[in-house]
Amino acid sequence: MSHAILVDLTLCVGCGACTTACQQVHNFPEKENPTLDDKNFTTIRTVTENESGDEYYVRKMCRHCEEPACASACLVGALTKTKDGAVTWDTNKCIGCRYCMLACPFDIPKYEWSSMSPKVRKCTMCYQERHLTADMELDDAGYVLDASGERVVIEGREITAEDRDTIIELTTNMDDNRASACSVACPMEATVFGERDQLLAEAKRRILESPDDYVPRIYGQKEVGGTSVFYLSNVSFESLGFYTNLENSSYPDKTWRVLEKIPDIVVTAGVALGAVYWITNRREDVKRYEEEIKSKRSKKKA
């Protein structure tokens, strides 16, 4: 089952519960009016619409693309699109090259610029957090163990029993389902966590039922080949600062189209070079042979 998040901007009141919950679940220092960085994975921005002067709240987070440019860019495959729907990353693999940051069409991955061992970090849709359960075993020092008996490490942090309980509380919603911390915290149901197909149907239903309250567009349905975060709005997405020049096709395809030709190029060019060498080499041989004959003849004459 592939998960997704639906953000209905018409319901958002800009309270910041989602950003606080995000900071808590990842054990980040709490900040007022945070910006997106290596210790903060979601923000709420107040945008004043140009024509009406009305204020809107825009939540920014990783879109968990269906075909993520970041995952295709990463040379060590540290970023992965999971079946769960989340795009996760493996801290240990990262070599700190930052190509994912350049490649991301939404400018989401952030870097630990002040660290001496800097890695890329971003929202994981609480992937590991959602998979922590209360019945997981503990070792003697009180750390949570996974099925193979290794300590659970989330973003470089080993998880104690206390951490686990906090995380489970923050990622369990009212229906007792596991969900991302931001969606659990949202008091207005402006951020909803759920199954991708169902959320997409829900988004369509809202637009169809109240066409006056929404612009007829689900941002994230088609952009960059589809994402796992959908936005609904009652004003144009362009006026809210969303990128509206993105193509509706997969971004990784743009580089794969070239990469997949490499074997053909190598074989063709290799044979071509060999052929040229063969011809020019033969020409040299012939020339040398002719000169030999010529010199023999001239000797004979002499």
């Binding site: 990463c74 040379l75 990262c94 610029w113």
Partner: protein, 405 residues
């Protein structure tokens, strides 16, 4: 016993100052991190070190495969005297690209991860493999010089036996590598200025690399002539320049057609920062070299050829910096109200890497048989008096080798 003090010259002092500055910047980079040493941010993740040290550096090393191909595959043997300096430049260039990468990677000690956690969908993985394999190939292509110097005949025989497969492999790897640096940017069409984003980027990168490989060879042989009295015959360089200009004409025709196809031609007439940078690139890379080369009587002298090629090399550098830095500026400006310009630390590191390249090249020419030994008349005929004090006679370079071809 008297020890001879090395002569102190202006260029030696300059090199020392740059290298000391580079050392200071290196301490900041590895002592306080990327955030302290660079102007890079979450919005501008790639800067001068990728744009110049890696993307431009690999291009400037293209002479190695261009000349090797011309001489060994196309059998244009009269260019043989230029192969060694070209391969030396390529080898040094690639080594310094790796040094540059070490500065830019956040966790350089984890670079071996590329070998075990391979992601074949990543262009950067292709780049990493090419850097690694081609540096190895270049080391082998260059090894006869060292083996000759130390008279290791058996090893020399072995390397000579595999020369042709090595050269073919080197050309294939270069084709992939030069083009892959362009492919890196295919994934960000919406971020780059239409002057420089094109689905054709990999092809453009490869073709311009062929041209700059020739340009760099001309520049090097002129500088070597001045510094060490090692000269190459002017007619050879003239032919190289002519091929270079031919390749450039093809290259810019392709770029023009590409702009036309993408309906971006009208942007050429809209004044902007990007337009000026494009004009600078085209002038340095194509127009000035074409004009200089065609100045009657002067354009095809040694000095004229040097300036023709030097302008092209500068234009090539401008092109790579335009693709990697300039083309993203409008994206940064419009969406984040910000802009990227390298920090002093980034500039100093880059300058000292270039300096290290010059110093290593000079040392190699001094102690290894890189350039063919010329008869004195040849040198005098060309008009560059050899500087005996800085160029001791080389051992084991049979001048006969040159005359044979």
């Amino acid at each position: 016993m008297k020890l001879a003090m090395p002569r102190i010259t202006f260029w030696k002092v300059t090199a020392a100052v740059f290298l000391l500055g580079g050392l200071a910047a290196t301490i900041v980079r590895f002592g306080w991190g990327l955030g302290a040493a660079t102007n890079l941010t979450d919005i501008t993740p790639w800067g001068l070190w990728i744009g110049f040290d890696v993307v431009t550096g690999v291009g400037l090393a293209a002479g190695g495969f261009t000349l090797a191909g011309i001489v060994y595959i196309f059998h244009l043997e009269r260019f043989k005297p230029i192969v060694r300096p070209a391969i030396l430049t390529a080898f040094l260039g690639y080594s310094l690209v790796i040094v540059g990468l070490m500065f830019d990677l956040g966790r350089p000690w984890a670079i071996w991860h590329a070998l075990i956690y391979q992601n074949p969908h990543s262009v950067l993985f292709e780049v990493a493999m090419c850097v690694m394999l081609y540096t190895t190939v270049l080391a082998l292509e260059f090894s006869p010089v060292v083996l000759e110097r130390f008279k290791l005949h058996r090893a020399l025989k072995f390397v000579k036996a595999i020369t042709i497969p090595l050269i073919v492999l080197g050309i294939l790897l270069s084709m992939l590598h030069q083009s892959s640096l362009g492919s890196l940017y295919l994934i960000v069409p919406q971020k780059m200025h239409p002057f420089w984003y094109s689905p054709m980027l990999p092809v453009f990168f490869f073709v311009s690399a062929v041209a700059v490989g020739l340009g760099m060879t001309i520049v090097e042989s002129y500088l070597s002539a001045r510094a060490f009295g090692k000269t190459l015959e002017t007619p050879l360089l003239r032919d190289l320049a002519r091929i270079m200009l031919g390749v450039l004409l093809v290259y810019f025709t392709m770029r023009g057609i590409d702009l036309l196809r993408r309906d971006a031609l009208h942007l050429l007439f809209e004044p902007s920062f990007e337009t000026s940078m494009l004009y600078l690139e085209v002038s340095l890379m194509l127009i000035i070299p074409l004009l200089l080369f065609n100045i009657r009587g002067w354009g095809q002298t040694r000095v004229g050829l040097f300036f023709t090629a030097f302008s092209m090399v500068l234009g090539f550098v401008t092109n790579r910096l335009n693709v990697t830095l300039t083309s993203l500026e409008s994206y940064y400006r419009e969406n984040f109200g910000t802009s990227y310009f390298p920090s002093a630390g980034e500039l100093i590191v880059t300058i000292s890497i270039v300096t290290a390249g010059f110093v290593l090249f000079a040392l190699a020419v001094k102690y290894l048989p890189i350039f063919p030994e010329h008869e004195e008349e040849t040198v005098l005929r060309i008009g560059d008096a050899p500087d005996r004090s800085s160029a001791p006679p080389l051992e084991g370079t049979p001048a006969a080798e040159l005359r044979r071809h």
